[in-house]
């Protein structure tokens, strides 16, 4: 089942992946995810603390702040872990926690305590961006009003992936001096998180409402204005790479199930995979999947190494995986035929997640628009 996002992992990366895969299979295999999807409680604190001990939440954090990676490129390591998570439909704010941890690591000292808890898996966090910079149109926006010693935040943002058991949120708000980001605790006064129903029943999506919530100046991450815009774009790119990596793992497993089905399902006296109509569909689908893996790995590698084209590759990855991932899951559905339309077959869990992941942290259109901005720029 290994997705093999990395064509040639190092020994240290392979160890991280092997232990991660074993941990998931032992504690939260897809059969248990299905129980969560049908109403059982989500993963408990022990799940996240074990994940933290494996290194899942410190990969994008400087060693000086308690982080560490398997290779010299933590984003590539995180993407490889994300793919194995996605293949097994792991719930929990892996993407959000890593995006927030990365931002806090760059911001430095004031957030040391929260960062340590995130790295250890003792706390989860995610990024609440809403419609800021057009990322998720119609999702709502937060505004920040200055007051002595800090800001007052108001507004509501919907469609926040995996917000349910987050202890902290990195909130992007429109402030008096332009874009502003601040860390808020979900149990602070004036903050309400309520669940939303959604197509992806393996994740717990919600809305965040801020009603006169106060944050001190020491909770602000980065300088408001153009600095924060640059941070925002980098967060969006990191989130894009990681959510794409999870989605590629999801695609990998959905495809693997379709492939197995094509080999064992008999019709007209033959396994259906011997028919070119099915074989060629699967070959084309596997080409798309290989391209998606290559692109996500390339984006993680470049962005994680701060290469000049890292951002462009991240946007391209989200555009490609977001759009073509839907094609892949449709092709798998077609191969499954009627069985894919049943609740008890796992396919719909994968298909649901891919639809949600496609729009999480910016739909393909937003990422394409960022690339369009780069047209003609040398």
């Amino acid at each position: 089942m290994s997705t093999r996002l990395l064509a040639a992992p190092t020994a240290e990366q392979q160890l991280l992946l092997d232990t991660s895969e074993r941990f998931i299979e032992d504690t939260l295999p897809v059969s248990k995810v299905r129980e969560i999807a049908e109403g059982a409680p989500g993963p408990d604190g022990a799940y996240f603390e074990t994940a933290g001990s494996l290194g899942w939440f410190g990969l994008l954090v400087d060693e000086a702040h308690g982080g560490g990676s398997a290779s010299d490129n933590g984003l590539l390591d995180a993407a490889a872990v994300a793919a194995e998570r996605g293949a097994r439909l792991q719930p929990g704010p892996f993407v959000g926690t890593n995006v927030v941890a990365s931002a806090l690591s760059r911001a430095g000292a004031p957030f040391g305590k929260l960062l340590a808890r995130l790295i250890a898996g003792q706390a989860r966090a995610t990024w609440v961006a809403g419609a800021a910079r057009g990322l998720t149109p119609g999702a709502g926006e937060i505004t920040a009003r200055a007051e002595t010693g800090g800001y007052v935040l108001d507004g509501e943002v919907r469609h926040v992936q995996e917000v349910a058991d987050c202890e902290a949120l990195l909130v992007t708000a429109r402030g008096p001096a332009g874009l502003l980001q601040a860390v808020v605790a979900t149990d602070a006064p004036g903050i309400e998180v309520r669940p939303l129903d959604g197509i992806d029943i393996t994740r717990r999506t919600g809305a965040v409402r801020l009603d006169g919530a106060r944050v001190g100046a020491d909770a602000v991450v980065g300088a408001p204005g153009s600095d924060t815009e640059a941070l925002f774009d980098r967060q969006a790119q990191i989130a894009a790479v990681l959510v794409c990596a999870e989605a590629v793992g999801t695609l990998h497993r959905d495809f693997e199930l379709a492939l197995e089905h094509a080999k064992v399902r008999i019709a007209f006296g033959r396994p259906i995979g011997s028919f070119q109509a099915i074989k060629h569909l699967l070959a084309d689908t596997s080409l798309t999947l290989e391209m998606a893996k290559g692109l996500v790995a390339a984006a993680a590698e470049a962005l994680g190494a701060d290469a000049a084209n890292g951002g462009e590759l991240a946007h391209a990855a989200k555009a490609f995986v977001g759009e073509r991932g839907i094609d892949v899951t449709h092709a798998c559905f077609q191969v499954f035929g009627g069985i894919g339309y049943t609740w008890e077959h796992d396919h719909h869990l994968y298909m649901r997640r891919l639809a949600a992941d496609a729009v999480a942290f910016g739909a393909p259109q937003w990422h394409r628009a960022r690339l369009a901005d780069r047209i003609g720029v040398a």
Binding site: L6, A7, A8, L259, A262, K263, R270, P271, G273, S274, F275, Q276, I278, K279, H280, L282, A283, D284, S286, L287, E290, M291, A292, K293, G294, L295, A297, A298, N309, E312, L313, A316, A319, F320, R368, L371, A372, R374, I375, G376, V377, A378
Partner: protein, 462 residues
């Protein structure tokens, strides 16, 4: 019986440009002189070799001119100076650096070849156009793998001396994807072989000296088992080469007609009726020529620069729909480059899978090249389909060539079969022809009913 199967294709009159069969230089006589290359000096090292190459190159070759047009495949006369240039390399001991000494090569390791390539980068080397690749990277390596020592002693030194250019006589008008279904036949008569039939899509055959020809030598066995390879002199009596006029106006591809061409056992590559083994070797060299690991390293900068330039030239660069079209192409471009880089990693990790995994790169070209050409046509709009007299019409030309990789060198469908069966492990199609005499296969195919012919009674049945 099976008369239709044995009859060579008759060319449709007037359907294509007909040219002289072959250049006069190879038509007159088959030369028999075998050139001899100097041996490398005793105690040769890569460093000494490099120094020797550097000095010789500086004294003997012209500097490369990047702006000069390469060998023009439309002019047969252009090939003579290229042959002479290759002969000078051969006489100086710089041709076939890694090829065996007994066949005119230098017998040195790949590090010597790399050293020469690095030193020679700044110089103008012989350019045989598309036939150069076919000769040196596909046909000669296939010969070396399967030819008899006597055959190799006759041909390989002459190839290395620029005296023999070799093309493939492989596909036929009636056999493309199904290469083992070729119908050109060689019949044994009075100690000789008599060749009849037709081959097609042989690039540059009109200026080549030999064609490696796959012919049927036994009709009464299954198709893969009755095939034999022959080295056919392009100038031999009974060989007619016709250049095919392509949809882009060019004519590098050829069709050949064989009309009682006389061959001998000496012309055979490999063993009689074991030609399919040789063919598989050739296909591996052919694939290896096109797609190498690391092809993703030279990523162009920016967003689809050629399409941006096109949009600007037609005044549509500010059109949001055009910009989104360009972005769509760019996303596919970077995904394709990332794929090739990934495939390189997969191949290095598992060399045994390389030949099959390479099908992804081929299918990506065959799938996305046409989409890209179509996008360019949309961006160019009316200016892409009509232009001032005398201009090139490059977008239209690229559109006409857009499906090239979807068909040439193994269609998209063949790549999908290869990926499906050999990478994904899907079960094979039922085969209607692999276990029966090819003669019967062709007879029954003409009255196809969709029913699998009854299997012959199994042994021991009363």
């Amino acid at each position: 019986m099976a008369g239709t199967a044995n009859t060579p294709e008759v060319p449709a009159a007037g359907s294509a440009e007909v040219t002289a069969a072959a250049p006069a230089e190879v038509q007159t006589e088959v030369q028999t002189e075998v050139p001899v290359a100097p041996a490398p000096p005793d105690g040769e090292t890569p460093e000494r070799f490099r120094a020797r190459a550097r000095a010789w190159l500086a004294a003997n070759l012209e500097p490369a001119n990047p702006s000069a047009r390469g060998f023009r495949e439309s002019a047969v006369s252009d090939v003579a100076p290229e042959r002479a240039l290759h002969r000078r390399l051969f006489d100086a001991g710089f041709a076939g650096i890694t090829w065996p000494r007994e066949y005119g090569g230098q017998g040195l390791g790949p590090e010597y070849e790399r050293a020469f390539a690095e030193e020679a980068r700044a110089y103008r080397l012989p350019d045989f156009g598309i036939v150069g690749g076919t000769t040196f990277r596909v046909c000669a390596p296939t010969m070396l793998a399967h030819g008899s020592p006597a055959f190799l002693r006759r041909h390989i030194p002459r190839i290395l001396a620029g005296q023999e250019l070799v093309v493939q006589f492989f596909s036929e008008p009636d056999a493309g994807s199904d290469l083992a279904g070729v119908r050109t036949q060689a019949v044994r008569e009075d100690g000789r072989w008599v060749l009849n039939g037709s081959k097609i899509w042989s690039s540059g055959a009109y200026y080549a000296d030999y064609g490696l020809c796959l012919a049927r030598t036994d009709w009464d066995v299954p198709k893969h088992r009755g095939l034999t390879w022959f080295a056919v002199p392009v100038g031999a009596s009974g060989v007619t080469v016709r250049r095919i006029r392509q949809i882009n106006g060019g004519s590098q591809f050829c069709q050949e007609f064989f009309d009682d061409v006389a061959l001998t056992d000496d012309d055979i590559v490999g063993e009689v009726n074991n030609g399919w083994t040789v063919a598989q070797t050739m296909l591996i060299f052919e694939r290896g020529g096109g797609i190498g690991p690391g092809g993703g390293s030279s990523a162009p900068k920016g967003i689809a620069a050629d399409l941006v330039e096109l949009a600007r030239s037609v005044g549509r660069l500010d059109d949001p729909a055009v910009r989104d079209e360009i972005v769509g192409v760019h996303v596919n471009d970077v995904a394709r480059r990332a794929l090739v880089a990934r495939l390189g990693g997969l191949m290095r990790a598992d060399p045994a899978s390389a030949a099959h995994v390479a099908s992804y790169a081929k299918l990506a070209m065959g799938t996305y090249d046409p989409l890209r050409a179509n996008a360019a046509l949309r961006i160019g709009g009316a200016d892409a389909v009509s232009w001032p007299v005398g201009e090139e019409g490059r977008t239209a030309a690229a559109f006409l060539d857009g499906r090239f990789m979807a068909i040439a060198g193994g269609t998209n469908e063949m790549q999908r079969n290869g990926i499906g069966e050999r990478v994904l492990g899907l079960p094979r199609e039922p085969s209607f022809d692999s276990g029966r005499p090819f003669r019967d296969v062709l007879r029954d195919a003409s009255t196809w009913t969709g029913r699998v012919p009854a299997a012959p009674p199994s042994e021991g049945r009363a």
